[in-house]
């Protein structure tokens, strides 16, 4: 099923399906390595709609809560 990044559980992995938002935002995420068809693993999620951290390949990226909402991920549940 497809959920947004904030709904993933810490430790859960999935495949990025879609990133919604402006060109600049999508491009920035992509150039950091976060783009459709990449496997990502959620590392942590901070309290009170705080930033979400994910692992893509060898790097960890922290993404603000609002941004994370616009990243759609396919997970197996």
């Amino acid at each position: 099923m497809i959920i947004d990044l904030t709904k993933m559980q810490p430790g859960e992995s999935g495949i990025v399906k879609e990133i919604q938002g402006g060109q600049g935002f999508i491009r920035k995420l992509q150039s950091m390595g976060l783009r459709p068809e990449k496997k990502i693993t959620k590392v942590s999620s901070h309290f009170w709609r705080g930033p979400q951290t994910v692992e893509v390949g060898n790097i960890q990226i922290a993404v603000g809560f609002g941004m994370a909402k616009s990243i759609l991920v396919e997970v197996k549940r």
Partner: protein, 571 residues
């Protein structure tokens, strides 16, 4: 081919500055977090008989700018030159995207495959020959920290090539990179190392927050412990046992009361030289920066350097993100704040990490008013600490509350919202002793070169103003504010005047005034907020522009008037 200019270009935190410093021998600050270099640094390298300019360009993900540091990178690329594209070997895929962009722009390119030493234990095997073949430009494995591969990189600079690639879309580039990696890179599974487990623990909120509190608390404890002991066992004895006897001889030679005696030695306090109060160039002028401030600068930058090189700061940024949003900032603003605790000049420069003008304005204004620099902290601890730790705590607590309240208000009244955090978190790396020491030495000599002359100038300046009775004139004018509003004696004006030059000296000048504890607390707090020192102010104008600097200044003055009055009423 004649080389005119060399640009070091790559993603953030791939080690460009480390390679730059290896190539040029120049001293630059290197840390383990994205955005250490926000301004380009220039150096020179000798190639054969020619000297070529070499530029350390701030890291960028794309050639389409998304923040000021990246904008600098894009402009540099437009101006042209030979590019040493620095690539993080542990993140080939993403790094190659920028490589392809550079190749499509027709830049002559050579690749430094940096952090090569890191690939083995990460289970990454790269076939350098294949990579070179597929990209069509030279690829040299390097390790900026140890210097491995640097000589080969220089030797092969003449082999630099341009490729005639037509522009392709982002997706086409990713496909191409996929094909390249299929052949040139092999990944094997491996177990998590201890360091990686620590990475996870320090980014998860339940374990990360206690770890953060522990690190912050122990950092301050160590800074204080090292600072205090350096003063007690080294600097204080140095001044009283070695320097004082020399000064006594000089004093006898110059004769007390003469003009030179007044300037160099200052006044006798109870017929003795008092380093804190005599106020001559060779007494207070040296004692304040060297014996009172330098030890704390040393211990602060030692700890900061270790945390920077370990890669802890971006994690702290993620953990504080939520709180910072209330102040109209996101978590990454914690990095300029922490640098500002050392000195506000690099602190303000680091606000270039922030994307929007609004954030930059808030961050700099909060920093100037709420975050005292280490020189000032050392003096407050030294001077107010004599009256009891409680009073030091009151000052810092007041400054912290001010910072928060100001942030809350600015976030409310300024138009717009601040963007969210989006940042890469680097892996932990064990700090290398040599590079920590090198960085510490750079920062200490920076302090001595920039602060010492200003302190001496301040001492001279005040002595002259006193002689010309200009201080009396100012004191007369400002008495209503000083005495009426803040409850300070009118002599405190001299500290406020010197505060424009140096904050440490200004706090020190409160010492001889025989203030009550309350007056000392009020005075120290006002000195922290009313105006930044001249060096900071110049950077502020450069970074914010005249108009915003004036706005920021108005806020400072208002805050100073208000907080002085409040403290005077409450305490």
């Amino acid at each position: 081919m004649k080389i005119e200019k060399i640009l070091l270009i790559g993603n953030p935190n791939v080690g460009k500055s480390a390679i730059f410093s290896r190539l040029t021998g120049a001293k630059v600050i290197i840390s383990n977090y994205p955005g250490t270099t926000v301004e380009f640094t220039q150096g020179k390298i000798k190639l054969g008989d020619e000297t070529v300019m070499i530029i350390d360009v701030p890291g960028t993900y794309t050639l389409e700018p998304t923040c000021k540091a990246e904008d600098v990178a894009c402009r540099m690329v437009k101006e042209g030159g030979l590019v040493i594209n620095i690539i993080d070997a542990t993140n080939l895929e993403r790094n190659l995207h920028l490589t392809l962009q550079l190749l499509e722009k027709g830049m002559p390119l050579i690749i430094a495959l940096n952090m090569w030493d890191d690939t083995k234990h990460r289970g990454i095997y790269i076939d350098v020959k294949k990579l070179e073949e597929l990209l069509g430009v030279p690829v040299i494995p390097t390790c900026g920290l140890t210097g491995e591969g640097i000589k080969e990189l220089i030797d092969r600079l003449p082999e630099t090539k341009t490729r005639d690639l037509s522009a392709s879309s982002d997706n086409q580039k990713w496909e191409k990179i996929g094909e390249i990696l299929e052949v040139a890179q092999k990944l094997t599974h491996r177990h998590h190392t201890l360091l990686e487990r620590l990475e996870d623990l320090s980014i998860k909120p339940l374990t990360g927050l206690p770890i953060a509190l522990g690190i912050i608390y122990s950092s301050f404890w160590v800074v204080r412990f090292v600072g205090e002991n350096l003063i007690r066992h080294i600097f204080e004895p140095l001044f009283t046992k070695l320097w004082l006897p020399l000064l006594m001889k000089l004093s006898a030679f110059l004769v007390e009361g003469s003009f030179l005696h007044h300037i160099l030695i200052g006044n006798f306090i109870e017929s003795k030289i008092d380093f804190g109060q005599s106020f001559g160039l060779l007494t207070t002028g040296l004692y304040v920066p060297i014996a009172m401030v330098l030890p704390y600068i040393f211990s602060f930058y030692l700890i900061l350097g270790l945390l920077e090189d370990l890669g802890y700061l971006p994690r702290l940024a993620v953990l504080t993100d939520n709180f910072m949003h209330h102040l109209g900032l996101h978590g990454y603003a914690i990095i300029p704040f922490i640098l500002g605790l050392g000195c506000k000049v690099p602190g303000i420069l680091a606000t270039r990490l922030l994307e929007e003008r609004r954030e930059k304005f808030i961050a700099t204004t909060l920093m100037v008013v709420g975050i005292p620099c280490m020189a000032q902290i050392a003096m407050i601890v030294g001077l107010v600490g004599q009256r009891g730790g409680k009073y030091v705590a009151i000052i810092f607590f007041t400054l912290f509350v001010l910072l928060v309240v100001k942030g809350l208000i600015l976030n409310r009244i300024l138009k717009g919202v601040s963007p969210e955090i989006l940042v890469e978190i680097p892996p932990y790396r064990i700090p290398q002793i040599q590079s920590v020491i090198k960085k510490l030495w750079m920062r200490l000599s920076g302090f001595l070169k920039e602060a010492l002359p200003f302190v001496l100038l301040g001492v001279l300046f005040v002595n002259i103003l006193y002689m010309l009775r200009i201080i009396d004139f100012f004191a007369h004018i400002f008495t209503p504010v000083l005495t009426g509003l803040w409850g300070l004696p009118k002599e405190a004006i001299s500290a406020l005047v010197v505060g424009f030059l140096r904050k440490d000296l200004a706090v020190g000048m409160l010492g001889p005034l025989n203030l009550t504890t309350k007056q000392l607390v009020v005075g120290s707090t006002i000195l922290a907020v009313y105006f930044p020192c001249i060096a900071t102010y110049i950077v502020l104008i450069r970074e914010l522009g005249i108009k915003d600097t004036l706005k920021s200044t108005a806020i400072m003055i208002m805050v100073a008037l208000l907080i002085g009055m409040l403290l005077n009423l409450i305490l």
